[in-house]
Symmetry: C2
Subunit: 203 residues, 2 copies
């Protein structure tokens, strides 16, 4: 009897050592990585949650690609762009975006004078989200575009196919369909990896 | 002998189950959490690295607390503010900042016309970092301020004690020494947790 206990203790100790030294295996119900796009049964994009803890790419103030200026120059919008951490890491390594990358462009109102601020502009009320998804398995044209107001829970893709969003990103975005020319922290990576599309006019 | 093997297998199995069910304990050489401030032997703050994967709070464009406007209105700077994820989570729960919180304010130059952009402004070249650290164990006045140009590896605190940075944050920042009034995603939290300082003029 004592001998069997010795064996038991020895095996248990060996088992503990083996488990502690082995790499953690993925849980059997492998969870989707943070920031994977999810769709409703009827193909709408579920509003991305938690993107505020994704990686910030850059922000713009009152950016417009149109020749005509906004009538109200004092209340232009800020745009903050986020991507999931794993997609950001992939870009740092490859200079391109992996399948299922989701870009969230957050829209905020702005204000100039307020609290102790006297000049320039800071962000105020949340206005909505524009989302771009890269998914060749779901979209014939690989890239799809979605708009969410401040509260919508899901959104259908902007007129499917090569709509105005798609065409503008295809023609003018520096890397694939992403405006890396406006994200200085990524532009240097794209230059180093030589992933900028031919003929792009950079800032 | 067979009996001792049965015991051994039984004990080993029980050990495996116990370990799999127990919460993971911290590694013995518990690494510092992401974004902890580090100091050189002579008390300078080591340039924070990796803050681009911290949590973005908000950005401003050309913000100034001074009555006089900048002479060059076409080349104002963007400011992007980041905090470590654990400190952000703490704020969501408490509406205040934990000891050792580090705020990184990143400075970027700006441009209006460039690539296809016609109006408004986007971020261009990296200009430097301003960093604020909350650490009552290290600083008699709890909060300290550091400036880094585009490449400096370490920086001494701005004239120690209650300097102009300290006084302005103390008098005007909505929560402790942080300008939560300019971070809309946190302002609602601070209002709910009632952690805004008395007498603050919010935007």
């Amino acid at each position: 009897m004592p001998r069997s206990i010795y064996f038991a203790v020895l095996f248990a100790a060996l088992a503990v050592i083996a488990i502690e030294k082995s790499p953690r295996v993925a849980a059997s119900s492998s969870p989707k990585p943070l920031g994977s796009p999810e769709f409703t049964a009827d193909g709408k994009l579920v509003r991305p949650g938690g993107y505020r803890k994704w990686v910030f790419l850059s922000s713009g103030y009152g950016m417009s690609y149109s020749q005509s200026a906004s009538a109200d120059q004092e209340h232009l919008m800020f745009t903050n762009v986020f991507v999931p951490p794993a997609d950001y890491d992939y870009f740092l390594e490859h200079g391109t975006w992996p399948e299922k990358t989701m870009f969230v462009l957050e829209l905020y109102g702005s204000q100039s004078k307020g609290s102790i601020n006297q000049h320039g502009h800071f962000q105020t009320e949340f206005m909505g989200l524009d989302v771009e998804v890269k998914d060749a398995s779901r979209f014939a044209d690989k890239w799809a575009y979605f708009g969410f107001d401040a509260t919508e829970k899901s959104a259908a893709a902007a007129s499917p196919g090569k709509n105005d969003c798609w065409k503008c990103h295809d023609q003018n975005a520096a890397v694939e369909h992403s405006f890396v020319q406006f994200y200085p922290a990524l532009l240097s990576i794209a230059k180093a990896k030589k992933t900028i599309k031919d003929g792009m006019k950079l800032p």
